[in-house]
Point group: D2
Chain length 355, copies 4
Amino acid sequence: MAARIPVGLVGVTGYTGMELTRVLAGHPGLELVRATSRSEAGKSLRSLYPFLAGPGDLGRMGALTVTQPDPEDLAAACKLVFLAVPHKTAQEIAAQLIRRGVKVVDLSADFRLRDRTTYEQWYATPHTQADLLAEAVYGLPELYRAQMRRARLIANPGCYPTSAILGLAPALGAELIHTDDIVIDAKSGTSGAGRKASVGTLFCEVADSFRAYNLTKHRHTPEIEQEVSLLAGAKVALSFNTHLLPIGRGILSTIYTRLKTPMTQAEVQAVFEARYKDEPLVRVLPAGTLPETRWVRGTMFCDIGVAVDERLGRLIILSAIDNLCRGASGQAVAGANLMLGLPEAEGLPLAPLMP
Amino acid sequence: MAARIPVGLVGVTGYTGMELTRVLAGHPGLELVRATSRSEAGKSLRSLYPFLAGPGDLGRMGALTVTQPDPEDLAAACKLVFLAVPHKTAQEIAAQLIRRGVKVVDLSADFRLRDRTTYEQWYATPHTQADLLAEAVYGLPELYRAQMRRARLIANPGCYPTSAILGLAPALGAELIHTDDIVIDAKSGTSGAGRKASVGTLFCEVADSFRAYNLTKHRHTPEIEQEVSLLAGAKVALSFNTHLLPIGRGILSTIYTRLKTPMTQAEVQAVFEARYKDEPLVRVLPAGTLPETRWVRGTMFCDIGVAVDERLGRLIILSAIDNLCRGASGQAVAGANLMLGLPEAEGLPLAPLMP
Amino acid sequence: MAARIPVGLVGVTGYTGMELTRVLAGHPGLELVRATSRSEAGKSLRSLYPFLAGPGDLGRMGALTVTQPDPEDLAAACKLVFLAVPHKTAQEIAAQLIRRGVKVVDLSADFRLRDRTTYEQWYATPHTQADLLAEAVYGLPELYRAQMRRARLIANPGCYPTSAILGLAPALGAELIHTDDIVIDAKSGTSGAGRKASVGTLFCEVADSFRAYNLTKHRHTPEIEQEVSLLAGAKVALSFNTHLLPIGRGILSTIYTRLKTPMTQAEVQAVFEARYKDEPLVRVLPAGTLPETRWVRGTMFCDIGVAVDERLGRLIILSAIDNLCRGASGQAVAGANLMLGLPEAEGLPLAPLMP
Amino acid sequence: MAARIPVGLVGVTGYTGMELTRVLAGHPGLELVRATSRSEAGKSLRSLYPFLAGPGDLGRMGALTVTQPDPEDLAAACKLVFLAVPHKTAQEIAAQLIRRGVKVVDLSADFRLRDRTTYEQWYATPHTQADLLAEAVYGLPELYRAQMRRARLIANPGCYPTSAILGLAPALGAELIHTDDIVIDAKSGTSGAGRKASVGTLFCEVADSFRAYNLTKHRHTPEIEQEVSLLAGAKVALSFNTHLLPIGRGILSTIYTRLKTPMTQAEVQAVFEARYKDEPLVRVLPAGTLPETRWVRGTMFCDIGVAVDERLGRLIILSAIDNLCRGASGQAVAGANLMLGLPEAEGLPLAPLMP
């Protein structure tokens, strides 16, 4: 086997960091050679994650010593670095790495919004890297594949936006729907809330319950509106609202739209199938089949189903992803693949864990 | 203690039958004296439900022998009978009992739709009891309390309709919203699917997953539209869609509407609070607090929260109930209380099981 | 209705405090008039627990203002106080209250172990209230009912010990088993881990998984051994080991013992039924039926089943409780009932939430 | 890439059949060319399992047409066939295939017990293939690797036995423990109960609950005793008991044993590490770390932890596997690998899905 390309991971203690180790453990072209964490430096990865043990990559990864995030060291050792740190923290590290010639995939929100003012408004913090913001490519392969291949910096899309944008793109591209009456009712598994100690995400607070949160003000709203507007060719404001599911992984977005003209289920189905027929990582389900989060659990797929309500002239789009894989770390690896000249889907998990 | 009023239950093997035993076990004014099931007749209730044992009512109930559903026997023994059998089956039994002077609360869909044609269309079966259909009272106390007090036959509301109608009533009553753009995104716990053996509701098919089902064609649609139209004073068609939650009990409906004129959160909040201020079994949550299904778990409450999206001129209403208690058996008992001259909330569980 | 007896609760923010509000909300003889918390003083209970709203007791409780724990104030207002604070903290408060003539039910471990040295060894902290330790009554009604009636201070049993001791008592009382080969394999729902922010009990760390913890060194070991030794009339050391279940409430203890002489299932069953035939809060399940945690969910019952392995001469005892109700707050209320001259089971929930 | 070896699957509708498709989808050396089911013949695999779609193997598998189980056809198309049908059914099919020169891995219990009488007693059905029974190799690589390489018929071990035997083997091999006092308290995820419609395994009957089942009479008992006796060099009877976990996948066995002579944690740890140091698919966890089912979720690993109770002279062994992967289909593929001259771990999933 040819030598694998060395990559690094800044921020290994969260669920996206954890998921990156899983995806990279099965990747034939990339090798994790650095993993950093301010709080855990000096320990072996295995001491954090006892499941990183065994033969081959798993064992090698587990033996890796966690280091302090040092741009010099990362640049010397890695061709590409994944940033799995909170927004704001990522800005500075990204700049330091790119300055040293390292490619970066940033999993935070820091480079997703093209408009700096919008960023500063929704994230309530200044953006200090205007140049990089202008240069960053939004890492959704179905929309920006060509640009991603040439990018130095990829802004990895948010989990909810991934599902919402991929669900809406065919309807917007074919101008099927009114753009002033879009409602996205999104539901996410609890891993989306991260791995920090908090009463609100304790097992006993989440299990056997269901609730909405952040209604009308979720930070993924401007990100979705940005891409939807570009797809629609006009500024779109939409209603995006989120709920917390008592499951680990998975997002299902139910997207309510109104058709411009009456269409049948079959006609809409054909539009969606045509849009994604060459896409390896999107599956338009057969008519009559609706996505389930378990069918994409642990995978890179976005599964999409459509239901036309002919009585009301409405189109309902369902879009399911695994928030940690397609919605974060797996998509980051797809981005890395493209940046590094590897096949887009290389090393990405496709078979779901069922049941 | 005064003698309790004897009541019967036709159909004891499903979750609504099971829940009725729980609610009646704590009821000071009603006593379950008959429980019927075609398949289990002859057994003790305790042999079906080992938890029906212990001192007092629980033990008494557990010792009850399940009988064949015999109208003569039921009429001789009971002043009121709950029907927890599938729709279509309920029609005939209801007629037989009412003819014999017994009051009936029917938990099936058989008497909910005022328009016989609509019933026959959505339920694909003829309705054989037109007279009773005309007489039946839709058993939502917040709308029909007075009529329920005088009723011989109550059509107990569906679980989804209970949450949707109570959520929409204040906005419709105060004419806050456009009635031609209502979307109800409803999510239900799996107990709503009933207690019959089926691959689709096995633990391994439901747990750790989430999915939509029956989009655009759920049978609760005409029931919701009927009551919403009455509240709006005009025929309303709305988009009602359902999802399956990996929880036992609980429905959360997220209801998307558009405001006729711009309003603040506080103004909408005031309208909702005013509408329900004298209602014992509806709680409008304080501004900024959104309902969670666990807060109503095992109880009769409908918890409602509102979120105004001033940017978009939208009002989002959240409505949570326990689908088995408020959405079925508890509400049936509230109906029985009213029919029998007891206080509406007598014997109904109000403190949720938390966590 | 006669005036209810005023009681207080020190420590309202944990799951046992929360559960006490639920149990007291349905109690006809006790009224919660004080609820304290160092961190939340000044807020209404409802602002902590939005489900404490509605008519009657729930609303009254929700309107209660949380206070600082002040012995003077508690003594002036309450006849009895429940302590739901961590061990060590409870010692001092208990003493202050008892000195002022208030009865106390302590839900911590501070007064459970008769031997001060054992306490200090397992809990790694000095015990400063030797007199009270000598006076405290271990609050398991099935063993100490008479003493509880006269007690000023009840040490409320631990959750695991409640299930283990009640499971073993009949076999020990009738001298059926060898006492030098007892293994208790106990499994608890996650509410047993408390309500503090912690990565290890996050939903994503507990759901869809199972693990043992604290093997060979759980602090409930000496408590179980103390009571088992008293029942056996000789010092018993046993193997007690614990596991974490991905459920909210419930403990199931599987207790492995060896019969002294060969016995049939029926013979053992008869011994267990005889032991508990007059006990209102223990249910020996019929032969062939094994307990399930859901059958006791939210209730005060301890459900017990026995299985004799005639091939091996072993007796396996299964004992299920709700760890928060029978294993903590419900049992505390039973203790309070006895101390205050009320019927033991008054106000205690008996009908489980099923499903 | 060299052509892959064609294999078949008889019985595709259960969870083990489903899991085989997942494992084979990622296998570089085997290709699924036949999938049979009496009830589903004629449909595409994708119409049964919508997640079998996408690029590469997944899509190819999904396009496969399910056929009737025809030995001629299977023999013509496959070099090896997996049997994922109920016991008794498997006997005949295995014979028909082996007669035609096809290698067989049988996932049922039909060829696991060497003693025909024991089989007929525990499974209450005659065994019609005595010759094959004598020839079959018990497919646990850690015990029978060499024989598996030469086998025509592998009896794939049961899920519980896999975890129990691998947990006990080091202690038995080094003669650390008394063999007349072994208690296995085993807990399994619900996928172990299979994918047939049944009230007992509905979501609402399993979720948020826990229970024992089949105490003292589980059919895996003789299988465990057979292998444990061989390891101990003497007939062993042990106590094996099972519980149902509200999780999808995973078995944790807590094995209680008594040490022959006092040993420290470190000494026992060393024995276990030595026994498995060259095994690729068993991980002895570091001292102080206990296995969790999630760490093996979706993988082929058996994770083992040990806890010495020096106070009592007891050794507690914990052994965790994924019941569908290591406990069924993954182990079947390991067996196939060995029979076909491929590396034992080829194509087997090793990185767990976390969280």
